[in-house]
Amino acid sequence: MKPSEIVDLLKQQEFGDKILSFEENTFQPGIQINPLWIEDIFYFLRDDDRLAFDSLSCLSGVDYGAGKELGVVYHLFSMKHNHWLVVKVKLDRESPHVPTVEHIYKAANWHERETFDMYGIVFDFHPDLRKILLPDDWEGYPLRKDYQVQELYHGIKVPF
């Protein structure tokens, strides 16, 4: 299905006001949605057989620049229809919260834990949101643009 058709389908499902923007010219068509409605939209995207987005191919946190907002980008892919959809969510920097999609796509479990670990984005209702890659007592969120490496970690000099 063509990207514009996907968006029209979403609009028919009275998600229209939830879709904040739609970019078409990039390699993969992307829509930006209101974070609070993520769960319903994802359920619809996955279960509707015309769309059939059965695999969450990639979930990545993005920091759009020091001082700007944080974002989470979901790359959805349908094995059945072989088409893409990129769902983006923009969160404010101070308290980034977005509901989890772990119960819809099990793949999101570890991806969300890694995004929390690297960006500090809290995924609400995630079953066990812990740091996955970094040690549990590591301060700061490394992948943020304004991240300052801590001087010592347990007495070990960190800067290279």
Partner: protein, 375 residues
């Protein structure tokens, strides 16, 4: 007799453990031999690839992609270059495409050899381990003649490759193919058909197809559960459509569909398919095409602002790169979606109520490389 509540034992398998394929710690809650739950702890080999990606120029990132899945460096390069070439909207010369496919498929065989060898050693048969590594040495020597390095090559660049095939290299590859075909048969006789091996792997760690898709498992893990999905065929890139090869899929021949034996046997069949691809690529190789392999490599890589998610079929699954470029020489964000990270996430789901020796079998069949899990 009232059920005697035996106390469960919490055991740590790893991070230094002979069969965790790297620094992975599995926290097992066991009741006697039966495992109640597995919680993997990763992050011991985290080297901040994504942070590096934001501070280095595009050519500098390529040696870092080698070190993601250090057993399949060529395929990692290939995936990263696909993404950058899409960003740059770069047309890659046909000869370079052929070189890339041949080299990527050779690397796939080398990577599968390690997977099969270590899987056999985990189950207890040490001889296949030595045989697979003996055959892998031949491929490493081929790569050393071609690129100069044995494992981490920095060979594929956006738009081209570092060096052209030296004289007589294609004959060396042909010699390897004739040398290697009977060796796969030996391996199957020794390990795949062995009754003890089958009883240790059949019906163990069964991964249903829908769970595999929901966990976004890819590669031999997904195909083991019967889902015929291979990026080289279903979402083709480079010049793979020009070659005929089939995609081995698990049939549950020795046990239920999606068990450890299926995932293992797919890797054996995939090695043969890779040999076919290399043979066809060698036959169709544009020999008289004398274009310099570095012709299309831009001097300074400054892609226009934009973002792309490109992926390639690594031996362990679908490795995808999500690159956001802000027009500078350094990417704004590089996100590596690694197949082992996702395939490993299935382990807790498979690990309920199995025996301790089965964990080792399942972990071997999922075939993870911690460099890619921890990035």
């Amino acid at each position: 007799m009232p059920h005697l509540k035996t106390e469960e034992m919490i055991m740590n398998m790893g991070p230094q453990h002979p069969s965790t394929h790297g620094v992975l710690r599995l926290e097992l809650v066991t009741d006697g031999e039966v495992v109640k739950s597995i919680t993997p702890h990763i992050g011991y080999l985290h080297r901040c690839f994504e942070k590096h990606g934001e501070e280095l120029t595009y050519p500098m990132i390529i040696p870092f992609t080698d070190r993601l899945d250090y057993l399949a460096s060529m395929n990692n390069n290939h995936a990263f270059n696909l993404a950058v070439e899409k960003l740059l909207n770069l047309e890659v010369p046909r000869k370079v495409e052929f070189i890339r496919v041949i080299v990527a498929e050779l690397q796939r065989i080398a990577s599968h050899l390690v997977a099969i060898g270590t899987f056999g050693a985990d189950i207890g048969a040490v001889t296949p381990f030595l045989w697979t590594f003996r055959d892998r040495e031949v491929i490493l020597n081929l790569f050393e003649n071609l690129t100069g390095a044995r494992m981490l090559y920095n060979y594929m660049w956006p738009g081209g490759v570092a060096r052209d095939f030296p004289k007589g290299f294609r004959e060396e590859i042909g010699a390897f193919i004739t040398y290697f075909r009977p060796k796969i048969r030996d391996l199957n006789n020794l390990l795949t058909g062995n009754h003890i091996f089958i009883s240790r792997t059949a019906h163990v760690g069964v991964l249903p197809a829908d769970v595999a898709v929901n966990y976004n498992c890819t590669g031999p893990v997904l195909r083991g559960s019967g889902v015929k999905w291979d990026l080289r065929k279903n979402d083709p890139y480079s010049i793979y459509p020009e070659f005929e090869f089939d995609i081995p899929v698990g049939q549950g021949t020795m046990g239920t569909l999606g068990d450890t034996w299926d995932r293992y046997y797919i890797r054996c069949q995939e090695m043969e398919q890779s040999l076919n691809i290399i043979e066809q690529a060698l036959a169709k190789f544009p020999v008289e095409d004398a274009t310099d392999v570095q012709a299309a490599v831009p001097r300074r890589i400054k892609p226009p602002a934009g973002e792309v998610y490109a992926r390639a079929e690594n031996p362990r699954g679908e490795l995808g790169f999500y690159i956001i470029s802000d027009g500078g020489t350094k990417p704004f964000r590089v996100r590596a979606k690694s197949p082992c990270f996702v395939n490993l996430a299935v382990l807790p789901a498979l690990g309920k109520g199995i025996m301790v020796s089965d964990i080792v079998a399942i972990l071997g069949s999922i075939d993870i490389v911690l460099g890619e899990v921890d990035r």
